[in-house]
């Protein structure tokens, strides 16, 4: 199997595309498109598992590298590779593909050919983002990832109100597309100066102070904004609630988080270590406020998609907090938490999607006392919820613990305290959601409901995800070993971390104020 190492990444990228082409060519008969997509997704997932099986976590640098010239002038390479940072994100993407198909199994009834073809193209785009080491190739996949998403939201939006699906699609696309214009300009500027789009070459060129400080500041800012929108970081999150309410489940579970967070670590922190540390105080402040803001807003939402949206803002802010603390443990925690968020978010989307499919409403007030009728749904919801709030033995605990403890020791006690309040709030919104939907007096809709619990397909997906949550929670080191080798470089620069601390200390005062004021 080692002979596969040289081409495995290309196989992973091509498999969904081939699947998409097959889906389009086959007739739209019954579940045929879904079956093809499921087989493709499973195949891709198995291929991604090849990576951790053959990954050498002792070695530094990129593995499974493929590099040949795509276009000679301008000098664009088809350059792929994986390191500890992207390794598990690729696996996560592979894992979520069959789950996305199963989640759409019964909800997508019309035009399923188009749906699954675009779904698979989206897989290629996301996988491409994680494995591209040529900035132009990376940008290509980054932009490409917007297109199927926007079209699918427009085509299969829930249309809660008149035209709200297309509006969410427009908003999502423009929010991400416009900030990527400065990103492309920054990439072009770097190319004009260095003649290369290669990640390592550019990293070296920036590291040897080939550019003026002012120029680097602008470049880093352009990179930061483009990625921060995609995460989304607080203040740039305007697209998220709409998309969560409107997007089909399989799309919504991959739209936020991992792409933006990965890009922040790889390209913002990785290419511009000095500028990233200058931006760190701001990012930490935004992240902490984001945790509190997201959790507080989730607490008062009337619609469960909105609860999930603001909850996601809070949990993604944990990741941002971990990244910009620049401690090894924090970055480990951030990457792990990104993966956790992917798994838990997927489970929550499947659960809420199951509710929406059965009752046709996302208003929480229409539910109540559902636990008696659907015990399996309630059980799985509680398990997922506990993983999200960070109960020990679950994956959420490890990630949050790493981030908060490293923030406490490495950045500032005040921010860490504020973040911890966020954890409590997240427990509050989730438990209150569980309470309102599954317990208490039965609502009209629930009384009228014939009482069909989760089907086999849904149970399979959810227990599987629950097992993964538990697995990561019990032995996180399987993931952390690899992750650590990938983020070491980002956490490096000891001289800078001193400077960071002095920067951060001025923020401690503010932090303390906020954490006091927050109570």
């Amino acid at each position: 199997m080692d002979s596969m190492n040289g081409i495995i990444l290309s196989i992973i990228l091509l498999a969904p595309l081939v699947g998409a082409a097959i889906t389009l060519l086959l007739p739209e008969k019954g579940k045929l498109p879904a079956i093809v997509a499921l087989i493709t997704g499973l195949f891709t997932f198995v291929c991604t598992l090849h990576l951790p099986a053959h990954f050498n976590s002792g070695a530094s640098g990129f593995q499974f590298v493929q590099d040949f010239t795509w276009i000679s002038n301008p000098n664009i390479h088809y350059h792929l590779g994986v390191d500890g940072l992207s390794l598990w994100l690729v696996v996560l993407t592979g894992l979520l593909a069959p789950i996305g198909v199963l989640a759409s199994w019964s909800s997508v009834k019309e035009r399923s050919k188009v749906f699954y073809a675009l779904f698979l193209v989206q897989q290629t785009a996301m996988l491409g983002v994680f494995v591209s080491l040529d900035l132009m190739l990376y940008y290509g996949f980054w932009e490409l990832s917007l297109v199927p998403m926007a079209i699918l939201i427009a085509m299969y939006g829930r249309n809660l109100t008149e035209n709200s699906g297309p509006k969410a699609a427009l908003r999502f696309f423009l929010y991400t597309f416009i900030p990527s214009a400065p990103l492309l300009v920054a990439i072009l500027w770097l190319y004009a100066k260095t003649g290369s789009f290669d990640f390592a070459t550019l990293q070296a060129a920036i590291g040897t102070h080939a550019f003026s400080t002012a120029a680097l500041c602008w470049l880093a800012f352009a990179f930061l904004i483009a990625f921060a929108v995609k995460v989304p970081v607080l203040g740039l999150h305007g697209w998220l609630p709409d998309v969560f309410s409107e997007a089909p489940v399989a799309m919504a579970m991959v739209v936020a988080g991992k792409l933006g967070l990965y890009s922040l670590i790889r390209f913002h922190v990785g290419l511009f270590p000095v500028q990233a540390r200058q931006a760190a105080p701001w990012m930490i402040a935004l992240a902490t406020i984001g945790i509190l803001y997201g959790a507080c807003l989730a607490l008062v939402q009337k619609d469960f998609w909105k609860v999930l949206a603001y909850g996601t803002i809070a949990s993604l802010s944990f990741c941002t907090l971990g990244i910009y603390g620049f401690t090894l443990a924090g970055l480990d925690g951030a990457v792990l938490q990104t993966i956790n968020e992917g798994v838990i978010g997927a489970a929550l989307f499947v659960l809420l999607g199951a509710l929406y499919e059965r009752f046709g409403t996302s208003t929480i007030a229409n539910y109540g006392g559902l636990a008696k009728k659907t015990p399996a749904l309630a059980t799985l919801f509680v398990i997922t919820g506990l993983a999200l709030v960070g109960l020990p033995l679950f994956n959420g605990f490890v990630g949050e613990f790493l981030v908060l403890s490293s923030t406490f020791t490495g950045v500032s006690k005040g921010w860490a305290a504020a973040g911890t309040v966020g954890v409590i709030l997240s427990a509050a919104y989730l438990l209150s959601l569980v309470q309102k939907i599954f317990y208490g007096p039965e609502s009209q809709a629930v009384i009228a409901y014939p009482g069909k619990d989760l089907g086999f397909r849904e149970q399979l997906v959810l227990w599987y995800l629950a097992l993964i949550m538990l697995g990561i929670g019990i032995c996180p080191n399987i993931l952390l070993n690899g992750i650590e080798s990938g983020v070491q470089q980002a956490a490096g620069y000891p001289t800078l971390s001193e400077q960071m601390k002095s920067n951060a200390s001025s923020f401690v005062v503010i932090a303390q104020e906020i954490s006091k004021g927050g109570k």
Partner: protein, 494 residues
């Protein structure tokens, strides 16, 4: 070198134009000879065949050494061949498109095919002419055909309006051009583009050269519909039949861009400090005006008309590039723009028909649900127009802006890309309209039929857009080779 020049008979240098002319004449004669009741469909195939032959003849010119013919009035080189192939390709697609979509009982259907082919003669000649009077004649041949074609829907109000507007404004523009030619002759004593460069430094009156150059620019920028000479575009596109817009929004523009490149790099390289800021200003103005105006349009063809103004702006940004890279980027952009624009108008023609049943953005609602293939293609071309990677539109913009930033004007890509963000907003209106579920109370439009000819046309445009986006190497190589034509004159720029 001179012996090599003379070894090629002059006629080979204009072989594509000769083939096209003969085809056009043949169609016209056959049209007159045929019974009025007989279908003119075969004449369209004759036209398509002639255009294909011309395309191959142009490719054959690549094997000849670059050189002039007919007393230095036309020049074939890699540059002219690049644009010949492009224009013949566009006209071929437009002819195939018209074959299936022109109503069968339409009068003067034969004439229509002949006009398209005659237009191609003018456009092709425009890209190889190096004598300003031949340039003028070529421009007139191409323009007059398009004036007539623009007004082809005689029984609608908008058709004649489009033709008259286009004709009046276009005549003024060519008038400006002719004035420019006269003045450049007065200043330098020649109308040979290749000789002008050497004569400008010794011109009797430098200010006359500048005025002449400005007048020439007005004429050409009108033809490429760059702001501020763009006002005719939306009205004409709205009034003209869609297959004609597919042609006239691309081929005459490609020819005019070829002329612009030949003129500024071949004839006036020494004035670069003058024309570069001018073209930058026009580029920024075109992008901004085009995109802002397009945002407010509800009519699909008007929206695409404004978007084509913006695309002219993106293309002009390439002129900032140093050396020949700018020319290569501009040539590539022309190809990419033509492929996707012909494509989208082809889709519109099929979906909305010759008599335009679907004029508004909202009318396209649910197209992908009604006709998945057509809707999918429409989304594909729109994505390319937005400039998403792995489509021709992306690499066009990418090369244009790369050369601009290498030429030291980093603000130009910044404005350009922010503009393409703006452009995404209105393209997306159409994207979501096509993608969203059809409204329940909308009148049911008949399912569009895709015949053999139209299918071929759509396939050509799709494959071209895709190839330019995934493997642009070969076309880019051809564009670079064509740019080498101007290597010597460019090196004279200080």
């Amino acid at each position: 070198m001179n012996t090599a020049l003379q070894s090629v008979p002059d006629i080979y240098r204009i072989l594509p134009e000769v083939i096209l002319t003969l085809t056009g004449v043949w169609i016209m004669l056959m049209d007159a000879a045929m019974k009025p009741s007989k279908s003119r469909r075969s004449l369209g195939w004759v036209g398509a065949f002639g255009v294909t032959a011309a395309l191959y003849a142009s490719l054959g010119q690549l094997s000849m050494p670059a050189g002039t013919a007919f007393f230095g009035t036309v020049q074939t080189d890699a540059f002219s061949v690049f644009f010949h192939v492009l224009i013949c390709g566009i006209v071929l697609v437009a002819l195939l498109l018209s074959l299936d979509t022109l109503p069968a009982n339409q009068h003067h259907r034969g004439e229509y095919f002949a006009l398209m082919v005659f237009g191609a003669v003018g456009m092709c000649l425009l890209t190889s002419a190096v004598e300003l009077l031949v340039v003028f004649i070529a421009l007139e041949i191409s323009s007059i055909s398009t004036y007539v074609l623009a007004g082809y829907r005689k029984n609608t109000g908008k058709g004649p309006e489009a033709a008259i507007k286009y004709f009046l404004l276009g005549s003024f523009a060519t008038g400006f051009l002719l004035y420019g030619v006269a003045m450049i002759f007065g200043a330098t004593g020649t109308t040979q583009i290749n000789d002008i460069a050497a004569l400008i430094p010794v011109a009797k009156s430098p200010s006359l050269v500048l005025i002449a150059f400005a007048l020439l620019m007005v004429g050409i920028l009108f033809k490429v519909s760059a702001a501020p000479f763009h006002v005719w575009t939306p009205d004409v596109y709205e009034g003209a039949p869609s297959p004609v817009v597919a042609l006239m929004s691309t081929a005459p523009k490609a020819a005019a861009f070829a002329l612009l490149i030949r003129l500024v790099y071949g004839g006036f390289p020494t004035l670069k400090p003058m024309w570069l800021p001018l073209l930058w200003a026009v580029a920024v103005l075109s992008m901004t005006v085009g995109n802002l105006a397009a945002l407010r349009q509800e009519n699909v063809k008007r929206m695409l008309a404004y978007s084509s103004i913006a695309h002219a702006g993106y293309l002009l940004a390439a002129f900032a590039g140093a050396g020949t890279s700018g020319i290569a980027a501009a040539a590539f952009y022309t190809a990419a723009y033509s492929a996707m624009n012909v494509g989208i108008f082809a889709v519109i023609t099929v979906a909305s028909g010759y008599d335009e049943k679907l004029p508004l953005i909202g009318d396209f609602r649910g197209l992908i649900h009604r006709a998945p293939l057509l809707g999918g293609l429409m989304l594909f071309f729109l994505i390319s127009l937005i400039g998403i990677p792995f489509t021709g539109g992306f690499f066009g913009k990418f090369f244009s802006f790369t050369t601009a930033s290498q030429g030291g004007a980093i603000w130009l890509p910044l404005i350009g890309l922010l503009n393409s963000g703006l452009a995404a907003a209105y393209y997306l209106k159409l994207v979501v309209s096509v993608a969203q579920a059809p409204s329940s109370n909308a009148p049911v439009a008949p399912k569009p039929q895709i015949g053999v000819a139209v299918g071929t046309a759509l396939a050509f445009a799709t494959i071209a857009t895709l190839v330019l986006g995934i493997a642009p190497g070969q076309v880019l190589g051809a564009a670079k080779a064509s740019a080498q034509t101007f290597a010597t004159t460019i090196s004279s720029i200080k």
